[in-house]
């Protein structure tokens, strides 16, 4: 998890516990687009750190990053 470009080519990450291959370097916002998650309806953690929505477009994902994407569920 970094703001710098550190590699190119396919990037292997873990999204909500599932191994996921991304076509290339992307950001949190790019990942959301890839999986059809609307950025204003999800909250995101990368490697255990919460990513404020304002950083979704800036924060680049790296090989091995573990990403949690959560949204509302019905609950009391």
């Amino acid at each position: 998890m970094s703001d710098q470009v550190e590699s190119s080519g396919p990037v292997q990450v873990v999204v909500n516990g599932e191994g996921t291959s991304l076509p290339g370097l992307t950001t949190v916002a790019g990942l959301c687009r890839e999986i059809s998650a609307e950025v204003d309806r999800v909250a995101v953690m990368v490697n255990g750190q919460i990513v404020p929505r304002a950083r979704f477009e800036k924060l680049r994902l790296n090989d091995g990053d573990e990403i949690e994407i959560v949204t509302y569920a019905a609950g009391g």
């Binding site: 909500n16 609307e38 909250a43 959560v70 509302y72 569920a73 009391g76």
Partner: protein, 262 residues
């Protein structure tokens, strides 16, 4: 207690009925029950986003209801660390600092963990959250939660989803007597009359989910709860009569019927 607005931190509400969004048969039924209840505050849980189940989306339909504040909960958290993380995720989603703090590690009884709840409440209050803790009906813990900066106290009436009513009445009375915070009965309510009783005792609000969501007619039940909660609130404000063990006549006990000739 007045019938005016109730305040949790900087947030103000007129309705004394808080709804949970779980267990409804459909999103439409849930939305109609929310409207019928007149509530201004609803709880939601968090889950992992699932790209294959986009129709589960709750965010958009809730956002369409005007005047509704969303209170994410920390359900699923087993300790303070997980609850604090869930609260921060919830705040990212809701854009609001209000959080229902709940830590109940045992799935069989879902009783709140008082030690982890207190620690999480301390951290979240320090982080600027409006902390609404689901808690055992324990006046000592209530004082501790008040001391660390919670915005309300939410003792259980009985176990979550049990419909056991207010089984904690004596402890609830102690909390109400000692606390300076709004007290909300959070779990176990089954019938509107129980919610009315909680309001007459001096509770500031009640949180209801299963009793409405699993009713034969959830919209009708939401209306019934709203009516009785409002009536209980007015009754409390009006001042209930004192009770005693002896009869006190309401009519003059004159003896003219038995005196004199017809």
């Amino acid at each position: 207690m007045s019938t005016d607005e109730i305040h949790f931190g900087k947030l103000a509400f007129r309705s004394r009925l808080i709804l949970g969004t779980g267990k409804f048969s459909s999103t439409d039924v849930m939305l109609n029950a929310i409207k019928a209840s007149g509530t201004e505050l609803v709880t939601v849980a968090l889950k992992r986003f699932n790209r294959n189940r986009a129709t589960d989306d709750l965010y958009a339909p809730l956002a369409e209801l005007a005047g509704l504040t969303i209170m994410p909960n920390t359900s699923g958290a087993r300790d303070a660390t997980e609850a604090v993380r869930a609260a921060h995720l919830g705040r990212e989603l809701s854009g609001s600092p209000i959080v229902k703090l709940e830590i109940h590690p045992n799935p069989h009884h879902l009783m709140p963990d008082p030690i982890e709840t207190l620690e999480a409440a301390r951290q979240l209050a320090a982080d600027g959250f409006i902390v609404m803790p689901y808690m055992p009906a324990d006046p000592v813990l209530a004082k501790r939660l008040e001391d660390v900066g919670c915005a309300s106290l939410m003792p259980l009436g009985s176990a979550i989803g049990s419909g056991g009513g207010i089984a904690t009445r004596d402890m609830l009375r102690l909390i109400l007597r000692e606390s300076h915070l709004p007290v909300i009965v959070d779990a176990g309510l089954r019938a509107p009359s129980e919610a009315g009783a909680a309001m007459e005792m001096g509770c500031a609000a009640v949180l209801v989910n299963s009793a409405i969501a699993t009713a034969g007619d959830p919209v009708g039940m939401a209306t019934a709860f709203a009516d009785v909660v409002a009536a209980g609130c007015r009754a409390r404000a009006a001042g209930l009569m004192t009770s005693g063990e002896s009869a006190v006549p309401t009519s003059p006990l004159t003896s003219f019927l038995s005196s004199g000739a017809p």
